[in-house]
Amino acid sequence: MTDTTVLELVSPSALLKSEPVEMVVVPGTDGNFGVLPKHSPMISTIRPGVIDIYAGGKVSERIFVAGGVAEVNPERCTILAEEAVPVSDLKADEAQARLEAAEADLKSAETAHDKANAERALDVARAQIQALTN
C-alpha cells in the first residue's frame, strides 16, 4: 500500500472532505505546491485556483477554491477555504456572469475597501474561468 496523507478540506459551513490521499497539489500564493506524505510543516495562504487530488499517479479529483489557508504537517494537510466547488460543477456562463459583476463593482467602487473587495472577486472569477478552460 502506498503512503498517504490526510487531506482535510473545510469550508465555513461544513467539513467537506477528510480522507487519505496520495498527493495533493495546492495553489499557494507563492506558487503551486504538492503535498506528499511526511511533508515538512508549513502554513501558506492560497490564491483562487484548483486543488488537484492524486490517486494512483493520476488526478482523481479537482476542486476549485476561492482562496484560503493551508496548514501542512507530516500527517495531514488542512485546507481552510471560504468557497470550494468541484471543477465539474462549475458553469462557464455563471463564471462569466461573476466576472462581469466583479468588473462592474470595480468600476463603481469608491472606497479603497470596496475596491479591494471587487479586485478579489475579480481574481476569483478569472481563476474560475481558467479552471474551466484547462
Binding site: P12, T29, I43, S44, V69, L80
Partner: protein, 296 residues
C-alpha cells in the same frame, strides 16, 4: 357571570390559539434541528482557524509590525457592540436577555466616559435599543436568516462593515453579544471580544506538538496573519449568527410549548365552568317547572 354563549366562544378562541402555538412549536422544532446541524458543521472550521491563529499569534508575538487587528489600536476609547437578536418575537426571553446584556455593558462603558457604537443584527434588537441608544446605532441588519438558513455571505457582509469601520479608526474594541446555544431550553447570553484578537489558550498538549514542529510560513508570518485575521472576524460572526439562530429556535420552541400547555389548562378550566353553569341552568329550569306544577 359569563353567559353560556360567551363561554362557548372563549373556549373556541383559546382552542384556535392552541392550534397556532402548537403549529409554531413544530415549525420551531424542525428549524432548530437544521440550525443545530449547521452550527455543528461550522465548528471544525472555526476550531482549526483558532488553533492556526493561536500558533501564528505566538510566533509573531507583539512585534512592532504586528497587524492592528491583533495588537489593537493602543487605545480603549470607542467600543463597538455587535448585538445579535432575532427578527421576530414570540420566543420567550430570548431577545430580552441579549438586549439586557448589551444594554448593561453599554451603560457601564458610558459610565466610564467611553463612546459606544452599536451594530444591530436582527430587527428585535434594534427595536429595543433604538429608544435609548438611537444615536449610537451605526448599522442595522435584518433578514439574515433566509429560507435555507444562514449563508456565509451575510456574515461576510457584517464582517466587512466592521472591518471597514475599524480601518477608518471608528472604534478601538469590538465585542459581540449573542445567545450561545446550550440546549433547547437553555441559552446563555455571551459577550465575546472580537477585535483586537484575543487568542484562546492553546492547551499544553497542543503546545508541545506545535513547538516540536517548526512551521515554515509562506509568504511570511505577517502576511498570513494579515490575511487570516479579517477572515477570522467573518468566521466568528458567522459562528455567532449560527449559535444565535439555533438559540432562537430553541427558545421559541420552549416558549410555544409552554403556551400550548397553558392554553390546554385554560380550556380545561373553561370547560368545567361551562358545564357547571349549564347544569345550574338546567336545575333552575327544572325547579321552575316543578314549582309551576305544584302551584296548580
Amino acid at each position: 357571570m359569563a353567559s353560556l354563549k360567551d363561554l362557548r366562544s372563549r373556549i373556541a378562541s383559546v382552542k384556535s390559539t392552541r392550534k397556532i402555538t402548537s403549529a409554531m412549536k413544530m415549525v420551531a422544532a424542525s428549524k432548530l434541528r437544521r440550525a443545530q446541524d449547521a452550527a455543528e458543521a461550522a465548528r471544525p472550521y472555526a476550531e482549526r482557524m483558532g488553533t492556526m491563529l493561536g500558533r501564528l499569534a505566538t510566533a509573531v508575538g507583539s512585534n512592532e509590525g504586528a497587524p492592528k487587528l491583533l495588537a489593537g489600536t493602543g487605545k480603549d476609547d470607542v467600543h463597538l457592540l455587535v448585538v445579535f437578536t432575532a427578527d421576530r418575537g414570540l420566543c420567550g426571553g430570548f431577545n430580552a436577555s441579549i438586549v439586557k446584556a448589551a444594554r448593561l455593558k453599554a451603560l457601564a462603558l458610558k459610565g466610564e466616559g467611553k463612546t459606544v457604537k452599536i451594530i444591530c443584527v436582527g430587527r428585535k434588537g434594534s427595536d429595543a435599543l433604538k429608544r435609548e441608544f438611537g444615536d449610537n446605532i451605526v448599522a442595522r441588519y435584518t433578514g439574515i436568516e433566509g429560507k435555507k438558513g444562514i449563508d456565509f455571505s451575510s456574515a461576510t457582509e457584517v464582517a466587512d462593515k466592521v472591518l471597514a469601520l475599524y480601518d477608518e479608526g471608528e472604534f478601538d474594541v469590538c465585542t459581540i453579544f449573542y445567545n450561545k446555544f446550550v440546549s433547547a431550553i437553555s441559552q446563555v447570553p455571551t459577550a465575546q471580544q472580537l477585535i483586537p484578537f484575543a487568542g484562546e489558550e492553546v492547551d499544553e498538549q497542543e503546545e508541545a506538538a506545535g513547538s516540536s514542529a517548526v512551521y515554515e510560513y509562506e509568504p511570511s508570518e505577517e502576511a498570513i496573519l494579515a490575511d487570516l485575521l479579517p477572515r477570522n472576524v467573518g468566521v466568528q460572526i458567522f459562528g455567532a449568527m449560527l449559535e444565535s439562530s439555533a438559540s432562537e429556535h430553541g427558545a421559541r420552541m420552549s416558549a410555544m410549548d409552554n403556551a400550548t400547555r397553558n392554553a390546554g389548562d385554560m380550556i380545561d378550566r373553561l370547560s368545567i365552568q361551562y358545564n357547571r353553569s349549564r347544569q345550574a341552568q338546567i336545575t333552575n329550569e327544572l325547579i321552575e317547572i316543578i314549582s309551576g306544577a305544584e302551584a296548580l
